[in-house]
Symmetry: D2
Subunit: 306 residues, 4 copies
Amino acid sequence: MSLTDEQKEEIKKQTSVSLPTKRAISLGMEEKLFLAHEVLDHGFIRVIDYMGNDSSIVQAARVSYGEGTKKSRDDRALIRYLMRHWHSTPFEMCELKLHVKLPVFVARQWIRHRTANVNEYSARYSILDKEFYIPEKQNLASQSNTNNQGRGEPIEDKEAQKIIKTLETDSLRCYENYEEMLSDKGQKGLARELARMNLPMNIYTQWYWKTDLHNLFNFLRLRNDEHAQFEIREYAEKICQITKSWVPLAYEAFEEYQLHSQQLSASGLSSLKRILDGENVTQETSEMSKREWVDFCKIIGKKSEI
Amino acid sequence: MSLTDEQKEEIKKQTSVSLPTKRAISLGMEEKLFLAHEVLDHGFIRVIDYMGNDSSIVQAARVSYGEGTKKSRDDRALIRYLMRHWHSTPFEMCELKLHVKLPVFVARQWIRHRTANVNEYSARYSILDKEFYIPEKQNLASQSNTNNQGRGEPIEDKEAQKIIKTLETDSLRCYENYEEMLSDKGQKGLARELARMNLPMNIYTQWYWKTDLHNLFNFLRLRNDEHAQFEIREYAEKICQITKSWVPLAYEAFEEYQLHSQQLSASGLSSLKRILDGENVTQETSEMSKREWVDFCKIIGKKSEI
Amino acid sequence: MSLTDEQKEEIKKQTSVSLPTKRAISLGMEEKLFLAHEVLDHGFIRVIDYMGNDSSIVQAARVSYGEGTKKSRDDRALIRYLMRHWHSTPFEMCELKLHVKLPVFVARQWIRHRTANVNEYSARYSILDKEFYIPEKQNLASQSNTNNQGRGEPIEDKEAQKIIKTLETDSLRCYENYEEMLSDKGQKGLARELARMNLPMNIYTQWYWKTDLHNLFNFLRLRNDEHAQFEIREYAEKICQITKSWVPLAYEAFEEYQLHSQQLSASGLSSLKRILDGENVTQETSEMSKREWVDFCKIIGKKSEI
Amino acid sequence: MSLTDEQKEEIKKQTSVSLPTKRAISLGMEEKLFLAHEVLDHGFIRVIDYMGNDSSIVQAARVSYGEGTKKSRDDRALIRYLMRHWHSTPFEMCELKLHVKLPVFVARQWIRHRTANVNEYSARYSILDKEFYIPEKQNLASQSNTNNQGRGEPIEDKEAQKIIKTLETDSLRCYENYEEMLSDKGQKGLARELARMNLPMNIYTQWYWKTDLHNLFNFLRLRNDEHAQFEIREYAEKICQITKSWVPLAYEAFEEYQLHSQQLSASGLSSLKRILDGENVTQETSEMSKREWVDFCKIIGKKSEI
């Protein structure tokens, strides 16, 4: 990550001022505000603002005149109850605003979560910085043989070096030509909105991104998941840590009932009951496809023998 | 409005505690937090929380590392520019959470604004309070002759008294029967989710309602408007005052470019140019319908002569 | 249900005309179009329009130039894969438009699903019909002792008769007073937007409601559920049947992976594995609350012994 | 545009089959279905499906049992009334599904319209085609001097040739290296989800995009506008033509009240009235900024003299 001195100064200035407020506060989050939490080689996540804390969830669920319940033990029980029974609206009453720096190809996955507010740095208006995501060698991998949209085995040294060299060279040349086209020295200079089309998708962009806690949990459940691409998962993991500091009780319930939970299909439930009744169920007698059977066995901790 | 002593106590408790925060603050809003601003006979609006201030809009528009622009004069100019050119996303970066008490028939209009988060008091879970909206005499009016969905002339004394009497009597009887059906004295007692269906739509309900500033402005533009029903307009006007305290620069731009602006249609623009060129344009030569012509004349301050 | 002769005539006219289209068609749905499927005592669901069929889901998932896969067996496998892995966007490519007649208190639950388009019959513009939901005796029940927002035991004959009598009497009197206030015979007559507030929440309203298949499934999962109120569940069940005729493969996958599936929490999964390993797990050693333990035992078909 | 023979065959197959339906039909749209309407050098727009026609808007506004009004003259008047008074929900009752091929940098502007359903071709799953947007010479322009996010004067021959050469060379080299990294000949081959990051943003992608008519009009108003980038405007213009064939009455009202209308601010209205009263208003006495004054004069067809 490469913050300029001016940027560091601005961040420092923001973190050094405290003012009194009557609003709900999260002490854990106050400590994280504005700081640049590093992700990948040049990316970061900065918390710009938050609304609400664990008590706010309880307060909204009760449509109450004061704060949440009297005891934090009751808050915890109610939050877990709400999460377990899919009550989404109380969680929507907390809001998070982030400043994120991320490669364009990650931004294109991220933006598919539509229930959020986004302000992206405009490459029609400004010139993009010369910063590209170049993966670390150990994160390069071949196409998966079993998963059409995932990666498989690590790529070894020589091939990896060549790939990194290619990414670096192409990024730089594209950027140099971007600058060259923009330049008005001895020429008119191409409009920014046109020149940017020469930039590759590993260039970094930035945005302000704001969403409520319910939709944030949806994002985290899908993106902090083994099926998500490694690069976006890195961001999701960092946001998980931040969310844990912000609303520890809600985050704990999220882990219990969503992130580390598993869905059993109708056929899965039926097979499970037969197994618990002592029957020796196999894939053939389970009404599940091979792939589903393997997933099912993994969930219940049974050898799948396929 | 009828807050219980316990409710007043809870509100007082909330307003008496200040804690330091590093987040953006709106001094105008801090003064309004938690207080019950009266609307209609038993309704209110309470600000529970807010995110952001005028500078936050600028900060998001610039995707900046620090606060907004250096000078508040620049903030104002940028905010006006953004509003004038329909840049909605920076305004989405501010968020407002209200606690509202309102009659059910108003709630049913309000809920049609879908881009908001809502937690309503549940009449499946709790017993509703015995509070009904009874209009003041001067707000009773007959059906409009020109507007199929609006009110016309005031209703005079005797008829008005009769109407109010009817509303009061029916409300009370329905509520008494609601209580009677719920009661488990000498009987099983009907489930709350069923008994509530006997209540009329002037009963008060409550909710927590949260939305961003862009969608709030949409709400205010449509509901603080002469075509909106008087009762919801009362709420919209109160929220306008609150918003003005919260984000004075954005609110000023909203009044200038939205609330007090007018849309001229293609035909309207064409007629206007002909009038400015000295032509004596009439409805017949304007390509507008009679109704449109009347509206057009009103907008440009001309007698419509129809 | 009480359609007027004119309404029956209009429906008949719509069902009698067929025109050629090049768009995707669902034969099962064509048969259901426009017909009034009865729900409760005066309600109905009418399919007004639909977009897409099972193949459209596949076609969108593949971003293809032609129709879906070659063989319908492949369509089924892909649809099940998409549903199992939470791929929601292909299901959003099908759309359903309904005309629904429903009691106001049901409409107020329904409208909480915000990702839909709604056009409701306006009681500012028109006079509402004299039709009220009066539950059948066998559907009256007392408040549940265990579930704060549900119903418990059936209410017996005498009390039930009294309740029905009350609902009928109050509905009629409120409606008569509504008509009386509206009347301009010998008086001005109150504006419709005001008079309507005297009507109880079991009066029927109507709307056009349009949503995509993904959000429809969300609606059906939450509303065709034992925790949903009986009255809205009646609508959800009818829509389930309609959806099955429309997109049989997607509906089958929905039942398998959503409607009849179950979520196991992290603690539930851990307990399950211990049970399968032969351990005698009890609530005390399970890390689950009593209520969660009971739910867990129900899911895996085990006696809970609490 | 470069459709393969197989793609042409699939399109031909879709356009050649007609089946009877009872649903609302748009004859103008049936003729356009599935055909590839060319945009830019390799892009297109194909209508995959539509729901509703002009009558459907009226039918929804009336929550009617049959079709719209009896006479199409009445349909037109009601549709214009609805559009003029910001009644958005009846327009939401029509839906459009498109298959679009477009450069990535255009897709990134387009996706900011969040109220739509999108299925994009996955570069994690598939290999992208070797097709890049290379602007035509006459569309190359320098950065605007007055508009920070727009283009100014055309770029002349020699500089233009150089730019095009650069774009072509960089695109090809990046694509060749993309293929090279993917290849498993003599090496493992990099996963697709990683290799794609080497591709520049003028590469073409594809998606299915579905939205309702109200949100489509919002999209068209903002993107078929002089402030929008030329490349996305080309798509918006094509969709305008398509929409006109689909719902001619609604499209006509859209042009009249939105696309070719203008908003006058509070200050603008005040100045206009003074001008109509014969006063000689100047920028200095208008309470408008210079930029606003210029815009205002343009709207009312007056020389701005600044």
